[in-house]
Symmetry: C2
Subunit: 221 residues, 2 copies
């Protein structure tokens, strides 16, 4: 039975970190909510299995939610993590740190409320984006630049770092142009080549201003 991924259709969002693991490893999967009747099915499984929020994965009897937990589960199964418990644990901690980073990206355009529109929190977003660009973004980039210099074995963390760089390039092109991160850039290029077919396919949803990475020029000075 194929893996079933459940995530909002229409945005890359957190689901994309899981899609990349499937696509990179040529693993068949169903992107359930993007199929006919899929949204209804998603809500029904969520309620029955007490899933707090998408994305979640279904594989036989196993249901896993929380992006980092899904990747922790899939890693060894897809050949994207070593089998050693200590090494897997280390990767998971890195992925959880990427999760934190992603929240901060999201909050640049939603500092006041998840349920409000960006247009209703523009001045607050501008202030938040300044502190993100000046302090937080460099801190995360510096950290993962150091990590990539150390971690030699390719894993799902490399795929997630590719996605972070692609998203940041889309959302903050001016800021990212000023940044030097050779190891992250090399990883980004390498992954981009390896998943080129996927990126050119309709399965890759384009970045847009509904997702987590959003391009608003006023937030990118």
């Amino acid at each position: 039975m194929a893996y079933e991924l459940y995530y909002w259709p229409g945005i890359q969002g957190r689901g994309e970190f899981v899609r990349l693991a499937f696509e990179y490893s040529n693993t068949p999967y169903l992107d359930v909510a993007r199929r006919a009747g899929g949204m209804k099915k998603m809500f029904s499984v969520m309620q029955r299995e007490r899933v707090f929020a998408p994305p979640f994965l279904r594989s036989g009897k196993d249901v896993v939610f929380q992006t980092a937990a899904i990747l922790h589960y899939l890693g060894p199964r897809l050949g994207l993590a070593p089998k050693s418990e200590a090494r897997r644990r280390r990767l998971h901690q890195l992925q959880l740190t990427i999760t934190d980073w992603l929240v901060e990206v999201h909050d640049c355009h939603h500092p006041v409320g998840v349920m409000l529109y960006y247009e209703d929190q523009k001045p607050e977003s501008k202030r938040r984006a300044v502190s993100f660009r000046r302090e937080r973004l460099p801190k995360f980039l510096r950290y993962f630049e150091g990590i990539l210099g150390k971690e030699k074995q390719f894993s799902y963390v490399n795929l997630s770092l590719f996605q972070m760089m692609e998203g940041l390039d889309y959302a903050f092109p001016r800021t990212m142009e000023r940044i030097r991160a050779p190891a992250l850039r090399a990883n980004q290029l390498r992954v981009r080549q390896r998943v080129a077919d996927y990126l050119a396919s309709p399965r890759r949803i384009p970045f847009n201003t509904q997702g987590i990475f959003r391009h608003y020029p006023e937030l990118d000075r």
Copy 2:
């Protein structure tokens, strides 16, 4: 060798979720950064082991950071999680959801920037707190109220839910008074009795307006 916990002295913060696991299970541990020379040691281990941020745990050769990952590691070792992989995975997903909830608590008083003072983001905090109190807080409470009705085996998630309720009672007393959550309240009382000695000891740092849970009356209407 005793477990070593590393976390900022002076606040409960994320470290408290780990402290509670040790205290509840009567497990000896060193709260390293609260001892003489401890901060220096913390920074030195962080740098050498490439830890992104406290809290982190050291146990022999193992170094684990990210609160939820620390509890996932400690759970079966302290008798606070079943040994079955599927059940452990489920608890971990719940803990990660508590992590998300805690970020939203923190962002009530820091919507604009982690590096700024609360006093520099008061109007933004007021707006953020409204959406937290009206939409997000009830959503998380409802979710975990349902979970507690289902999960019969006591685990570190019960301890974390205790800590969430204690923190919310401190930070948002007016709001919490209006909330009905019988399963969460019963769990809170039960844990409070079991760790009464710890709560009365100097090892329990009092809540204060430096931590994640902060009481600012203007945010609690």
